[in-house]
């Protein structure tokens, strides 16, 4: 047909415009790639929470006989682990993959030659990271429900919370990954941001146990705000601090991260 070199008679209509929602076409691209690897991923998304629940909740929890704030240690730690899992997935998916799309596979450059805007490219990839964080969190919730570690049906509200948390950490990480010149900076982000945040933002022990001077740092992390909300939801108790305040704080991180990411993506893609 094509080899007919212009003598073809079949008529087709090829639309050449922008897709109705361009970011969805970008998301579809990332999902198509994910189809090839999801099996290995889904296994670890169930295995990892099982291991952490068994290890921390049951193993460490056996030594924390009085629990925390009158709550069994397993029940207390599960919402924290849920939020920190979402953060880990969100950061892992927005460091090397974003860096690679600029530096190695150059996928973003291919996308920017199509009728997409910088915001479409960013939103589509961010949507994929959100999808990854939400599926991992859902798997986590299912496993912990099987262990009977969710005390309240309000636990379903943790999903919108971790979604917002994911955007709050992924958007600035996108900006960071677009700004750095070498991937060794990405490892620094894990060492100096992700690991301290996971250890001290109220996941494993209450922030009140930290020395006074360190507490503000813990409260400044997006993770602590999500942990407090998730803990309130799974235990069915009011959060320590205002829920609206938590949500606004997370939304501010997401919004600021978005603005930065758009700016830094544009600096790389439109030159």
């Amino acid at each position: 047909m094509v080899d007919g070199g212009g003598t073809g008679v079949e008529v087709s209509v090829v639309q050449r415009s922008r897709p109705a929602v361009p970011a969805l076409a970008v998301l579809a691209h990332h999902l198509t790639g994910y189809r090839r690897t999801w099996r290995a991923g889904i296994f670890s998304s169930f295995l990892l929470p099982t291991l952490t629940v068994v290890g921390f909740g049951l193993g460490v929890g056996a030594y924390v006989e009085q629990g925390v704030d009158g709550v069994p240690y397993l029940d207390w730690i599960v919402p924290g682990l849920l939020a920190s899992t979402a953060v880990q997935v969100a950061i892992a998916e927005s460091t090397w993959p974003v860096f690679s799309n600029f530096q190695w596979t150059r996928t973003y450059f291919a996308q920017s030659s199509a009728p997409l805007r910088v915001g479409d490219i960013l939103a589509g990839h961010l949507g994929f990271v959100l999808f990854r964080a939400l599926t991992a969190s859902t798997a986590f919730l299912l496993v912990t429900a099987l262990f009977g570690a969710l005390a309240s049906p309000w636990a379903v509200l943790t999903l919108p919370v971790v979604a917002l948390l994911c955007l709050a950490v992924a958007a600035p990480t996108f900006a960071y990954a677009a700004a750095v010149s070498s991937d060794s900076w990405l490892a620094m982000l894990f060492r100096f941001a992700l690991i301290p945040m996971t250890l001290f933002a109220g996941v494993f022990f209450p922030v009140e146990s930290l020395p006074d001077g360190l507490r503000p740092l813990a409260y400044a992390t997006p993770l602590w705000h999500a942990v407090d909300l998730c803990r309130a939801a799974t235990l069915g108790v009011p959060p320590q601090s205002s829920a609206v305040g938590h949500l606004l704080y997370l939304a501010a991180w997401a919004a600021l991260g978005w603005v930065l990411a758009v700016r830094l993506f544009r600096r790389r893609l439109v030159v």
Partner: protein, 326 residues
Amino acid sequence: MSKCLVVVGGHRYGRPVTSAAPLIRARGLVKRFGDFTAVDGIDVEVRPGEAFGFLGPNGAGKSSTMRMIGCISPPSGGELRILGMDPVRDGPAIRARLGVCPQLDNLDPELTVQENLTTYARYFGVPRSTARRRAAELLDFVQLTERADSRVEPLSGGMKRRLTIARALVNEPEIVLLDEPTTGLDPQARHLVWERLFRLKQQGVTLVLTTHYMDEAEQLCDRLVVMDGGRIVAEGSPRALIEQHSTREVLELRFAAESQEAFAGKLDGLGERVEVLPDRVLLYVTDGDAALAQVEARGLTPAAVLVRRSSLEDVFLHLTGRTLVD
């Protein structure tokens, strides 16, 4: 949205050509990066159905120009209209009608050959079923049908380049931009790419390419500009450029002695121009054989002699110099 035939980039058949208004029109186009001026006020017009080339050494400003035409790099000055639109304001609308084959392959290694085409087609709003059919046609066109379900990674350089060209055609573009389409390919792969590009041209697709291969430019381009230091130093068809900037033939003389310089002095008055290279002397002449007879009449006996037609490469080296540009 227009009706068109299922031929690669077959718009020309589906739409009457009402005027030969240029598809690309640049006036005093400038691109600056900080203090560095990559493109320094060029005027270019590309007409429908034409194969237009940008020639030049590395750093001449070819790729910067291509990126501005591809609407991913805003001009720093001058005027640029593509398909009658403003690339800064109407970028997505213009890009919807362009096909781009970049210098560095940016295929998605996580996807199969076919998926690289179908996912890209969605960026142009092509429905899924149309995209699949289109991908099959294009894989046939670039002779990759049997690799449709293969990953991209193990493909050879030539296959990847052909796939990138196929991807540039998923939206049936009116203009295809090719930045050094055969750089790094082996001769077989180059010839296959040329043959496919020639076929596209026959079908009426407007091709805009950059190259520093003179044979590529002579093979493909109807018209070209030679760029150097961000400026256009010559413009015309390959034939016209040779006529204008070189002689009909070149007589290459290689003398056995250490220095060719010693002999060069004895060639005064022969031909329009004498060029002394470390290993040989070039005489730019109208008739090579006649000039050779005169050389021999002066008692000179070169160790090796070659009479050849002037090529675009002679023009290129004459205009942009022999100094190495890195």
